[in-house]
Structures are given as C-alpha cells and as structure tokens.
Amino acid sequence: MSGLSQIVKTVSLVLFVPILTFGLYVVAHGHLTPGGGFQGGTVIATALALFLVAFGAKEFKRILGKDFLSAVESIGLLSFGALALLGLGTAFFANFLANSGGLFGKSVPVGANAGIFNSAGTIPLMNFAVGIEVASALSLVLLLMYLSEKGVGK
C-alpha cells in the first residue's frame, strides 16, 4: 500500500502541478473556450488519480479523506443550487450578475473579439461550482474503486 517506486512518485509530483493548472484553466475559461466545469473537474480528478496510483490509498486518504471529499462535493452542488436560487428576483437560474459591472459583470461588445474573461455573470461561477463537484466526486469514486480493487477499506 506504499505506492510505486521513488521515480514514479517524483515524476507524478512534477506532472501534478501542470495538470492541476490546466484543469483550473479549463474550468475558469468555460464561458470563453471549449470546456467548462465538468471537463475541467475531470482533468483535476485525473491529477488526483495520478497521485492516488503513485502514492497509494493510505497517503491519499491522509490528505483527502472520504468524508472530506463527500462534504466538498455537497458544497459544490449546494453553491450551484444557491446561485440558481439567487436569480429568483426575476426567475430561477436568471443571470443576475451579467452586465452589472461588478464581478464577471462586463458587457461584451458586438462583433468579433478575443473574449473578455470578466464577463458572462453567474456562468463562470456555476462552472466553478460544477468543477468542485466533479473533481471531488470523481476522486471519491476513484478512491473507492481503488480500495475495493485492493480488497481493503469499506
């Protein structure tokens, strides 16, 4: 259960940061480029999967426990629901932040442009919520599958 060799551990740690960064990029730019919360969350979960395979479940559980992952998953889902409910002033899921000038509130000019990161209102926030949910839920699934494969835990 102590994971793979020192070489694999070191290389996986080297790869860990770029994969995580790429995942965060996909989540954050969901409203501008292909991708979004689900896809980015999956990329983040692959980084955690790499860590799990290289270091073993014991080390993984020491850093990210089952209960912790489950709680984070709930928080992601709840914040998605809360963002949808906050629009209730007009309608459920209404985008109350778009074009408001504040957070993610810039209005987008008509015509071709490179994409403005600080736009689209609640959509990027919802992408973050989905990203948190998918990343934690998928790592939880991977952890449980890993444990049942090794015949330990429960």
């Binding site: 209960d67 489950s70 709930s74 709840l78 629901g81 007009t90 309608a91 459920f92 209404a94 985008n95």
Partner: protein, 518 residues
Amino acid sequence: MINEIALHSPALAIAIPLVFAFLLPLLKKWKKLAALMALIGFGAAETMAVLVFKSVLTEGIKVYVMGASSIGQTTPPFMPVPVRIILEIDAFSALMGLAGATIALLAAIYSIKFIKESHVKYYSLLLLMLAGLLGFVFTGDLFNLFVFFEVLSISSIGLIAFWLKRSEAVEAGFKYLTISAVASLFVLFAIGLLYGEHGILNIATISRDMLFYGFAFTDIIALGLLVCAFAMKCGTAPMHFWVPDAYGEAPAAVTAVLAIASLSSVYALLRIAFTVFGPLPHTEIIAYAVIIMGAISLFVGATMSLVQKDLKRLIAYAGVSQTGFILVAFGVGLVAINNVPLQAFGLRAMQGGLFHLINHAFYEALLFLVAGAIIYRAGTKDLNELGGLARQMPLTAVFFLIGAISIAGLPPSNGFASKILIYESIYFFSPLLAVIALISSVIVVVPMVKAFCSAFLGPEIKKFKSVKEVPGSMILAMLVLSIIVIFFGLFPGIMLESIVNPAVNALLNQAAYVGGVL
C-alpha cells in the same frame, strides 16, 4: 411574499428537494437533524406541488421560463422560437406532481422508524427521486424530460439496492439498471431523431410543427421508440419482469414512491401520444399496440399474482395488472378520439383511465406500506410463514383490507369507481376487451384474499406472539393513504368533476398546450 412563492412554485418544487438532497450529506454527524431537514424538504416540496396544482386549476396552463428576464418570456427577444429551459404545467402534470409529492412525503414520514441505518444516504436519494419525478412531469422540453428521467432512474436504482447485504436486492437493482439504461437510450435516440427533424426540443413547438406539416418517417420511428421505452419503464407485460424484483426488494417506503414513478412513465407515454403527436390518424396503430400490451398485462399480472408466496411480489404482480387497466383505457380513448360514433365512450374511457391512474398510485402505495409494516414487525414477507397477525396488528390489518378491496375493485372503494367507468366504456369498443378486464379484476380478488387470510387470519403462531403494532409514524402514513383511498371511493363524482376532468381535457387540448408557449 406568498405571491412571490406561488409565482416561482414550479421551479421551487424541483429546486427544494434537490437542494435538500445535497444538504443532507453535510449533516452526516447529526442524524436527527438530517432526518428533520429531510422531512422539511419533503414538506416544502409538497407545499409547492399544492400551490402549482391550485394555480393550474384556477388559471389554466402555467409556464415557467428558467433564466429569462421575466418568467413568462418564452421566446428571447429577436428570436422566433423558444430555446430556454421551459416548464409547462397543465392540469394533468400538476395532478401527477401533487400525487407524487404527497406519496413521497408520506413515505418519508413512514421511513423515520422503518429505516434503521444510513438515514442520510436514504433520504438524500429519496429527495433526488422526488426532484426527478417532479421535473419529469413538469417539464415542457424533451431533453429535460430525458435528464429528469435519468435522475429518477439512477436514484431509484440506489434505493432498490439499498439493503446491499441482500444479494437479491443487488440483483433487482442491477435488473432495474439494465432496463433503465435501455429505456433511456431509446428515449435519447428518439429525441435525437425528433431534434434532427424539427431542429428544436420544446414539446409545444414540435407539436405545432406536426400539426402544420404532418409526420415525417423519422417521427414515426421516434414515436415507436418512445412508446417502447415508456412502456418498458411502466412495467407492462411482456416487459414487466423487473417489476416483481424491484418492488419486492426495495424498502417498502421506496416501493410506494417507485410505483408512482412507474406511473409517471405512463404520463410521459400519454404526453407523447396525445400532445406531441396529437390525435392524428397515424397514432391509431400506437393505440392498438397500447391496447394489446395493456390486455396482456391485465391477464399476466393477475394470473402471476395468484401463484406468489412472497407478499410484496404478489402485490407487485397485481399492480402490473392495474397498469394494464390504465393502458387499455387510454388506448381505447386514443382510438375513439378520431372515430366520431365512439367519441363519447372514448372520453369516458380516458376519464376512467386517468382516475384509475391516481387511485392506483394511492392504493398501491398503501398496500406496499402495509407489507413494509409486516416486514418491520414479523421480519418476513413469506406468506407460508406468516399468520394470525390481526390479533397483534389490528390497525395494519384494517389498512390492508382497505387496500385489498380497492385493488380488487369492490365497492365502495376508489378502485371500483374507476374500474366501472373503464368497463362500461371499453365494452362499446370491444366486448372481448371488457371481458378480459372483468375476468382479470375478478382474478385479482383471489390473491388478495389469500394474502389477507394467510398473513392476518388463522391460528396464532408462536413465533409472532411478541409482535406489536407498528410505531405511530408508520400508522400515520398508512392512515392518511387509507383516508385518501376511502374518500376517493365515497365521492367519485366530486373527484371526477374537480380533478380528473380538467386533467383529461388538458390532455386532449393540444392547441392549449401549444398556445401556452407560442
């Protein structure tokens, strides 16, 4: 404030159970608080369903556009077609939603004592199931129909296999998983075909397209796939094999909700046949298919129920036969709508079918809750082992008798009221069909008598001497269901006038459904 809530009630009805379902895992450490929150969630969802039902009955079709700048703005500015997520609720969907929320609330109350372990996981899944059910019947968009269909199926699978230590439960869950996956793929493929043909997913817009331009060949394929998928999921013979397993192995309170979840597939079938495709001549072939499936279910369900030894499987098979009643009635209605001399009987058949659908949901739930009460106290559902329980559990025995009388269609129960409507109307369509229905209904009496006698009557058995009546929360859930069943049976005229007829008219009035959005 109250007006605001009533305005947003369709969205809140789906959002509240979802949010509460996600909230519960955070309260894992505080079990009592989690159960309390779950009950609050079910209660709030029920309130929303009542508000929706009330406003639909008084004001007609209710449309809710998610994310729009006002909730009635179905088409965005400068766009000719609706593209947003739209909930469209007519009297039929509102009635289904209300029945679903009521049964789920009662099941949750029943579960307080009935479920002894993993409260959080259980209530979370049950809330998700309610959210899926309400979304499924409220949506006005084909793709959302598919999404909520999946939510409903997946949470049901988790609950059917809830007692993971029983290998039979896992097997039943796997069977349901397979049938759900196949049905979902059928639905998705059919939606893809419809989208390719019409370029939009809104039910009302597709319906208008078909009214104006008629059917294309791909539409007919889509219709066939959808009817197959929903018939599979509502448990009609010959696709009924999952019903006894899933109903038999799921915890009893879940089975009660599962029964209305299956009936919501009947709702989707009717929505597709009547609203999307409309009563055009092409749909007649579907009507005959539905009638034949219904007639087979009637007979197969009733006869298979006869030979069961397991109480819950016996009730499940009797339920298959009742689904047959509903399908036969609506099939006859679908044929008769285009056939002028039969039209009056067609309408009557549909009233009977819809009334039976609601009645079936309630008495099936009652019977399963009673079966759960027996399992809770006696620890077995094998009719060969049970006996003499009426001495220790008199109230449960009375509740079972009420449910059994209803499912067998004896007066003065609600089952009698709806079945007599069905008999007298389908007789004019085909006397043979009426005979099959009558015989099946008579056959269903036998397993019910058998179950009552072998579980509640007979000499006292030593093993069950110390058995007590079930706790108050379980009695309360069964009592409310019994009152509903008896009330529907004693005042069928009022029920027909006030809730059934609006629903039937809503189903038949395709133009109003289309007009709600466009």
